[in-house]
């Protein structure tokens, strides 16, 4: 029998020095001990060490040994999409052939799988969300798992329920780890776990040994700034970012904010890109590379920017809004200052932060109602597809997917996805949403939010506050943060710059793309009505603001409740149309979407817009069926069905028309009315609305 040789300290050090091509290289504290436990004692290990500690040395040395002595591959599960090439190059220095399988290279899966099966791959990197992809699990991971001799889980704090950004995919991973035989060495690593998270991980993975090191960061200058309104914070960014060293990241809470902040910075001659989960994997990788290669000054990102994103010379991390917890903050600010002397971590706290986090907390868990509806529906079938569930349940696709994912990763899941269909399991009848646990988690999240507020306001050392909140017992005052040393930023942004930012916020209209494809599964009798062939489609339109947001959004929501849109909004819309949008050919008449519930609100507004534009308003669109409010329809199927046969065209001109509504969400009403107008004879239809309530995760 092939006997698994032990790896001695000297051998490991020799391997390290050869790989780094540095005869004087040495292990850092804890690195050898982790390798030793992993390889020689075949342990399953959780390592908590600060970012930049060098966990990759540990798993690359271990991977070398596993390859040479056992002929096996190392599987690394990491949320990094970024710098996959850097990881692969780093592995190469260690003499390892590394490849990645991810959403952006599906075409290569077959080739990579074949290479793995032929034992040509030493390290395989995959993202945790691959675990939720049935095709990947069945066709790639299960067949190649025979080759796996070492498993590495990066950012392991995500497997804790208490982790700041608990992800359902990680729950699949934890359930896998729980049933994994003990003779597979496993290394779980994280840079950000307080004692509660570690305890929680250990509760799930009872047999894991834990190693932890100090979390204090040497080069990081921390500061917090309260600036209530968005205009002041935008001005702050435009004023200070050019003074900050190198490149950096700005974290915002929503997709829309990344776009808005990036647009503003670019207007201020600061090169910036927006980055969020709404972008496809390829674009995200490309943007990450632009930052890595210093082609942009700053990346404006949501938390979708990988944990695992690794740019050692990042000069600053700024938060445009406060993050949800200390763990989240440490995680994100920890991206900076790893290989440079001076780095800045600045937290700008705004007035909207609390409301956004409140919303996130409310949306974190599916409601009892939707869970009951989903279980009831799935239980009626012998396997059912998602689209068929959507027909029966009037819920947003994203919400339904969220509920299904939540249910499918429960400890005793009541549903399972198999062969592209959802099935009820034996556990479906006894399933109970664990309200007590959810309440506990919500309460914990509220407390974590309080802790980050206290961080913003503390007069004491900021680094020490973070370290202590993460249960690092070795902490002391850092001597570098704004509270230890005073602010490094003294000159304030000018009033002109703040006014400019305020104007920018009022001019941040969005393009309104009409729907181009009918919802799936529309009944045959309605197909003709629902079809959206090119000749009946609207032109791209505009939305003036985001409902309730900075700029005009707050005014729109205020006026909608009062039942009258003030003239400022008329002027704003007309200014936007004439000075910035300038649709060609120019519309020669105006139509509006009628409502039976509030017949005059939109019509009155549209008439005033028409008057100011100097073109006629026609009572073109007539409601012929008293349909349900569109906002109570939650997915494409129900939204489109609800507006079919609801309107007719009473009069028109065979000319381009501006079609006005007040609030747009799913865009189905505008899409279908535009179709009717074009069928009647309008030559072009320009949809236009005051505000959009569409959320970032809308379909």
């Amino acid at each position: 029998m092939q006997i698994t040789a032990e790896l001695s300290y000297d051998q490991a050090l020799e391997q390290l020095r050869r790989s780094l091509n540095n005869p004087r290289a040495n292990f850092r504290d804890g690195q050898w001990s982790a390798i030793d436990r992993l390889i020689n004692e075949q342990q399953q290990l959780l390592v908590v060490q600060r970012t930049g500690w060098g966990k990759s040395w540990v798993y690359f040395i271990a991977a070398q040994h596993i390859r040479l002595q056992r002929g096996k591959m190392t599987l690394i599960i990491s949320p990094l999409l970024a710098l996959i090439n850097n990881q692969i190059a780093a592995a190469q220095r260690f003499g390892l052939t590394a490849v990645s399988i991810n959403a952006s290279n599906t075409d290569d899966w077959a080739v990579i799988k074949a290479r793995v099966l032929q034992n040509q791959v030493d390290v395989l990197l995959i993202a945790p969300e691959r675990f939720a992809n049935e095709a990947f699990m069945e066709e790639v991971l299960l067949p190649i798992s025979q080759q796996i001799g070492l498993l590495v889980i990066d950012e392991a704090h995500c497997i804790s329920d208490w982790g700041h950004d608990f992800r359902p995919d990680y729950r699949r991973i934890i359930q896998t780890l729980q049933v994994m035989p003990k003779n597979l060495p496993i290394l779980a690593t994280t840079a950000t776990a307080n004692q509660r998270v570690i305890d929680d991980i250990r509760q799930h993975l009872g047999t894991f040994a834990v190693e932890r090191g100090p979390l204090m960061r040497e080069s990081l200058h921390l500061q917090t700034v309260r600036l209530a309104d968005a205009a002041s914070r935008l001005a702050w960014l435009a004023h200070y970012i050019p003074q900050l060293p190198g490149t950096g990241i700005i974290y915002t809470l929503t997709h829309a904010d990344t776009e808005q902040v990036a647009t503003w910075l670019n207007q201020q001659a600061i090169s910036a890109c927006a980055y969020h989960a709404g972008l496809n994997a390829e674009t995200r990788t490309e943007i990450e590379q632009r930052l890595s290669q210093n082609q942009i000054k700053v990346l404006v990102a949501t938390s979708a920017l990988g944990m695992g994103y690794d740019k050692p010379d990042l000069g600053f991390v700024i938060h445009y809004q406060a993050p949800s917890s200390i763990i989240a903050y440490y995680q994100q600010v920890g991206r900076t200052g790893r290989a440079i002397e001076q780095a800045y971590g600045i937290l700008l706290a705004g007035e909207e932060d609390a409301a956004i986090h409140d919303y996130f907390r409310r949306e974190a868990f599916p409601s009892q109602t939707i869970i009951e509806a989903v279980l009831h529906e799935i239980n009626r079938h012998d396997g059912v597809k998602l689209n068929a569930i959507l027909e029966k349940i009037n819920a947003r696709r994203a919400k339904l997917e969220h509920a299904l994912k939540f249910l499918s990763v429960e400890a005793k899941p009541p549903v399972i996805y198999n062969q592209k269909k959802w099935y009820a399991t034996i556990n479906a009848s006894n399933y109970q949403l664990d309200h007590a646990k959810i309440a506990g988690l919500n309460q914990r999240r509220s407390q974590e939010w309080q802790a980050i507020q206290a961080y913003v306001d503390t007069p004491n050392c900021l680094m020490r506050y973070l370290a202590e909140a993460l249960d690092d017992l070795h902490s002391s005052d850092c001597g570098r943060c704004a509270n230890c040393r005073g602010s490094v930023f003294d000159n304030q942004p000018t009033a002109t710059l703040i006014n400019q930012a305020a104007r920018f916020l009022r001019h941040s209209e969005q393009v309104l793309e009409p729907r181009k494809i009918a919802a799936p599964n529309i009944p045959r009798a309605y197909r003709q009505l629902a079809s959206l062939a090119e000749p009946v489609r609207a032109e791209p339109g505009r939305v003036l603001a985001r409902w309730g947001h900075a700029g005009w959004g707050a005014m729109v929501s205020h006026d909608k409740k009062r039942g009258h849109f003030r003239d400022d909004l008329v002027a704003a819309l007309v200014e936007m149309i004439q000075q910035r949008w300038q649709p060609q050919p120019c519309p020669t008449w105006v139509a509006s979407i009628p409502s039976t519930r509030n017949p005059h609100l939109v019509e009155d507004f549209a008439r005033r817009v028409a008057q100011k534009l100097g073109i006629p308003w026609l009572a073109a669109v007539v409601k012929i069926r008293n349909n349900e409010p569109q906002k109570s329809q939650h997915n494409a199927f129900h939204q489109q069905m609800n507006v079919l046969k609801a309107f007719k065209i009473a009069e028109w001109q065979a000319e381009p028309v501006l079609l006005i509504d007040d609030i747009v969400d799913s865009r189905w009403t505008l899409t279908i009315v535009a179709k009717l107008l074009k069928e009647a004879g309008a030559t072009a239809v320009y949809p236009c609305a005051l505000a959009s309530t569409a959320s970032d995760d809308d379909e």
């Binding site: 025979q146 796996i148 001799g149 396997g383 034996i426 556990n427």
Partner: protein
């Protein structure tokens, strides 16, 4: 699913995983051999998962179970972990022989040939509650299926657990009928446990604890004739009596399963009367089964047949040639008062011929035959002198010389 290290070790050694077959899992009898050795060394199977494996197995040697094979089987940890995670999400659990829920009847009747692992879904307690096995063909006439459904209802109404194979035709019909009548059923599947556990037709019964589905094979394994045949004996061994609805003559799973039961005398076998020439039912009567009298009024009539003999394949009495005990074939009552003449040394040789093709330690022989050490040593000495058996050293074991004749 709480899986301990022992279960992991046994799964790694005995379960087919994935499509690659470059290393063959241990067969049930190979596992029996290896397990006996582990026991004799006072090792626990979970120690196989420790990093000291090489030292642990340094004394092991076996012609078909090489150390390399064991190592490579155990090296499948990751593939097992991923598979278990998937299975448990479908509500599937795993039990091994030492689990309390493991059917004791299987252990008692099959000894080392009892499957080392059972995958299951549903009410595991039904596995130790006996029942009436009902078997028959996949392809049956409408009339036969109607009769089968009625049988399922009757058995349920009498409070009997229906034990069957979950296959199309008779198996599914009798189980569904019993469940529809609020009865209980045990399905011993030869394939596709994962899919079957999710099927809408079984869902309610599984959820309401009326049904358990078990399989000794990988829950995602597809249909395989060998597996289907191998599984038949578990159906009989889990039950207290068996009913054959229809069997082809001299072929097919139902026929072979029934004959296997008659030979091994596990449970009384009842046959639905069928005089058609193509039917194997009458032939089974000739082989020792009994005609099922309808209506069934009392389950005890089916079960408490004095004819039944506790048969244990590897005990000395099993090796008594059938003709020396003609009563057993007909499953008629046998009594210890009848004069029996047995040459125990000859039986001992028969046992070695059958079992010691691979070397056995003296402890294994003692355990299997329930004999004392002096008795075994005495007979071994005699067998070696006669040239039937060879002794090998390091460690000391004995194996049968095939070129000799008894």
């Amino acid at each position: 699913m709480n899986i301990n290290a022992q279960t992991h070790a046994i799964l790694l050694l005995t379960t087919h995983l994935g499509k690659q077959t470059e290393v063959k899992p241990l067969t049930t009898s190979e596992w029996g051999r290896f397990a006996a050795w582990l026991r004799s060394q006072q090792f626990q199977p979970e120690q196989l998962l420790s990093h000291q494996l090489p030292q642990l197995l340094s004394e092991w040697s076996d012609p078909t179970i090489s150390l390399e094979r064991i190592q490579r089987l155990l090296d499948r940890a990751a593939v097992l972990g991923f598979a278990l995670e998937k299975w448990q999400r479908a509500g599937i659990w795993v039990i091994i022989r030492s689990d309390q829920r493991y059917p004791q009847q299987l252990k008692q009747r099959l000894k080392q040939l009892a499957p080392p692992v059972l995958f299951g879904c549903g009410n595991g307690e039904l596995l130790n509650a006996g029942g009436i096995a009902v078997v028959g063909a996949r392809h049956s006439t409408t009339a036969e299926l109607a009769w089968t459904a009625e049988l399922g209802t009757t058995l349920a109404n009498h409070g009997a657990i229906v034990v069957s194979g979950g296959a199309r035709g008779v198996d599914q019909t009798v189980m569904q009928a019993a469940l529809a009548a609020n009865g209980q059923a045990v399905g011993i599947l030869a394939d596709s446990l994962f899919k079957t556990a999710l099927a809408a037709s079984n869902r309610q019964a599984l959820q309401q604890q009326q049904l358990v589905l078990v399989s000794p094979f990988n829950p995602e394994a597809g249909f395989d004739v060998g597996n289907a045949m191998g599984r038949n004996k578990y159906i009989y061994c889990l039950a207290d009596a068996a009913i054959v609805v229809n069997s082809t003559l001299n072929k097919g799973g139902t026929w072979h399963g029934a004959i296997e039961n008659l030979k091994a005398e596990w449970v009384p076998l009842w046959v639905k009367p069928n005089s058609a020439a193509s039917s194997g039912n009458s032939a089974l009567l000739n082989q020792g089964a009994q005609t099922l009298a309808e209506p069934i009024t009392d389950l005890h009539q089916l079960i408490n047949q004095p004819a039944r003999i506790e048969a244990t394949p590897l005990s000395l009495f099993d090796l008594v040639p059938a003709e020396s005990n003609p009563e057993a074939v007909g499953a008629k009552p046998t009594s210890i008062e009848q004069p029996i003449t047995i040459n125990f040394y000859q039986l001992f040789l028969d046992y070695l011929k059958q079992t010691a093709k691979n070397p056995l330690s003296i402890e294994q022989i003692m355990e299997n035959l329930q004999l004392t050490k002096p008795q075994v040593s005495e007979w071994l000495k005699r067998a070696i002198e006669a040239g039937y058996v060879v002794k090998i050293n390091k460690p000391v074991r004995y194996h049968w010389c095939d070129n000799t004749k008894i």
